[in-house]
């Protein structure tokens, strides 16, 4: 945990005064958040407070009512359709439940974005899919399996492999370790760390897992009261005075974990 704030703050994602509301129910109210190049940012918040809404707003899946979001120094409001496509090639998304296409095998799932965007021979495409499968720690024969034949942990890994298909610069992970046993979750944390270092990824990770936050995140952002109420390293979270952050990081379960 030596991620001291870099001198040149190379920001990959910049969210300013974001407002998202469904009907007259405001979910996010003037929220601001930065993601720096090369870091793993953990994003925490209570259930139903809008963590996923923020992710989906950045990805353009949810309409926003106000504020600006820029990714790779490009304002998402002013970007052209072609520019948006080019952006989408540079990010990878792993959805909470995988969202693998159920009628395609794992290898075919990984090849979907490749077919769409790249000019590659079928042999090379197969080699590349096999490589991604191995990089996320799946056995080579997993490539020929359908999502319905995979276990929960394997689905997460396959979904990560698909997110990495185009060698993105940023990956969004929605609760990557939820539903995994502690050993599987720790393995997954290590995997994300290793991939982040070898591929030079920036990772935006929505998570509830205190172990992930402690072991793999460079910085943590906490969402409460429709805003980001605290950003920083784990020690900043522990010293925060905001009541929700306090009860999250210094509650009974958290203290038991930290001691252990």
């Amino acid at each position: 945990m030596d991620a001291s704030p870099q001198a040149d703050q190379d920001l990959i994602i910049k969210v300013r005064n974001l407002v998202v509301a469904f009907g007259d129910k405001t979910i996010l109210d003037r929220l601001s958040l930065d993601v720096r190049r090369g870091e793993i940012l953990g994003f925490v918040g209570g259930s139903g407070t809008g963590k996923s809404v923020l992710t989906r707003a950045i990805l353009g899946l949810v309409e926003k009512q106000g504020g600006t979001i820029s990714v790779f120094d490009t304002d998402l409001d002013s970007v052209s359709e072609a520019g948006k496509r080019a952006l989408e090639k540079r990010w990878g998304v792993m959805f909470q439940h995988g969202a693998l296409f159920s009628s395609l095998t794992v290898a075919q799932n990984i090849q979907v974005p490749m077919r769409e965007y790249l000019d590659l021979s079928p042999t090379m495409m197969n080699d590349l899919a096999a490589l991604k499968i191995e990089m996320v720690g799946l056995r080579p024969d997993a490539g020929d399996k359908f999502p319905s034949q995979l276990s929960g942990g394997m689905i997460k890994r396959a979904a990560l492999a698909r997110a990495l298909a185009l060698d993105p610069e940023v990956v969004f992970l929605d609760e990557p370790t939820s539903g995994l046993d502690p050993i599987g979750a720790a393995d997954f944390d290590d995997l994300i760390r290793t991939l982040q270092q070898t591929l030079g990824l920036t990772v935006f990770m929505v998570t509830h897992d205190l172990d992930s936050l402690a072991s793999s995140c460079d910085r943590i952002a906490a969402l409460a009261d429709k805003k980001v109420v605290a950003v920083g390293e784990l020690k900043d979270m522990l010293s925060s005075t905001h009541p929700w952050v306090k009860s999250y990081f210094r509650g009974k379960r958290a203290l038991a974990r930290m001691k252990g």
Partner: protein
């Protein structure tokens, strides 16, 4: 970040039996096809050397594809007995190439000849058809047992579900079924009049339409419509419940999915089919009467009195007797296909299609069998 893309390239300099290969440009996914060509050119251009050193310092960018190509180059060279090294490569490049290395050879799935595959397909289809039949019969048995259980303990029956299904099948289905049989009644009467007029036997159109509507047409149209409307809905509902493990949830609560899902649907069909078929007959006869009046000049009073003399209770009951059997066939096929859905969205679509096609086919086969049966007992 939109710097001009620099194409990947390489330069080779030879010194005795050694070669130094300098890689330049962006070795990334965007240049996929180009990289594959480069790999071939490089291996050819290298010729016979004992030692090759790859210089990565002038690479602008490298990603997993570039690393994979470099790894494949060094792997090929290595297997030809060439010593490969990468001096002064940056840590990042080495880490990436390291992550890509050490892969198993891609698995090649064994290919069989077309003929063998075709024969295997045919065989499999035959076996599946046999299994379908056996499964269908045992499923109907299961449903009968479940209905028996319900009769012994009526309190445990899901009346609400039965009423909902009745509404969906009979009440909501009635308008379209009535409309269709009305139109078909009109068409049959019109054609009948045109053909019979040549023999001066226009009045016989009443016999024709009366018998064919009551015995066959109304019920068949009704069964086909119900298979398309309700059979497909049953398959899709039960199938998506299966996909989301809701069926398993019922089982572990000690509830039998056949009791909960299948019996109310099949019972609702058994009640609804005769009703719909009766309504359909009325609509068909009404349409025929209308057309006979307009095209054939047969006044409604004549039409009705002739109908009364031609049609006896047997023609009417044949249609009604067949209806519950059709209901069971449609309901059983729809529910079996629903329970056969596997995990994927594609399989749900396949089962719904199979459910509709199989039930329409079986309805027509069954109708043929009934026709033979009634003919042989002179009913």
């Amino acid at each position: 970040m939109t710097t001009t893309l620099s194409n990947p390239a390489f330069e080779i300099t030879f010194a005795q039996d050694q070669a130094t290969i300098i890689l330049t440009g962006e070795w990334t996914l965007d240049h996929g096809r180009r990289l594959e060509i480069i790999m071939g050119e490089l291996l050819v251009g290298l010729g016979e050397v004992r030692k090759a050193s790859l210089d990565l310092k002038r690479l602008d960018r490298l990603d997993t594809l570039g690393a994979l190509v470099i790894d494949q180059i060094s792997h090929r060279l290595g297997s030809d007995g060439v010593k490969v090294e990468m001096p002064d490569a940056s840590d990042r490049h080495l880490a990436l190439i390291g992550a890509v290395r050490h892969r198993n050879e891609p698995m090649v799935s064994p290919r069989r000849s077309r003929l063998v595959e075709l024969l295997a397909d045919v065989g499999q289809t035959v076996v599946h058809a046999g299994q379908d039949l056996v499964r269908g019969i045992s499923f109907i048995g299961e449903v009968v047992v479940a209905i028996g259980r319900v009769m012994l303990r009526p309190a445990s029956f899901r009346w609400a579900s039965l009423v909902t299904q009745l509404e969906l099948i009979a009440f909501r289905g009635a308008p379209i079924i009535i409309l269709i049989t009305f139109l078909v009644g009109c068409i049959v009467a019109q054609q009948g009049i045109f053909q019979l007029r040549r023999f001066g036997a226009t009045a016989f159109v009443v016999d024709l339409v009366g018998i064919i509507t009551l015995r066959e047409l109304a019920l068949l149209l009704c069964a086909i419509m119900v298979a398309g409307r309700s059979g497909s809905a049953f398959t899709a509902e039960i199938g998506s419940m299966k996909m989301r493990e809701e069926i398993d949830a019922l089982r572990v609560m000690g509830l039998n999915p056949v009791d909960v899902l299948v019996v109310p649907r099949i019972l609702a069909l058994i009640i609804a089919m005769p009703i719909l078929s009766f309504l359909a007959s009325l609509a068909g006869l009404f349409g025929a009467g209308l057309v006979s009046w307009i095209y054939g000049g047969i006044a409604p009073e004549t039409f009705l009195s002739r109908l009364q003399s031609v049609i006896n209770h047997r023609h009417f009951s044949v249609g009604l007797i067949k209806a519950p059997f059709m209901a069971v066939v449609i309901g059983a096929i729809a529910c079996i296909e629903g329970l056969n859905v596997k995990g994927s969205a594609e399989s749900l679509g396949q089962q719904v299609t199979a459910s509709v096609v199989k039930s329409i086919f079986m309805v027509i086969v069954l109708d043929g069998l009934f026709a033979m049966f009634f003919a042989s007992i002179r009913f």
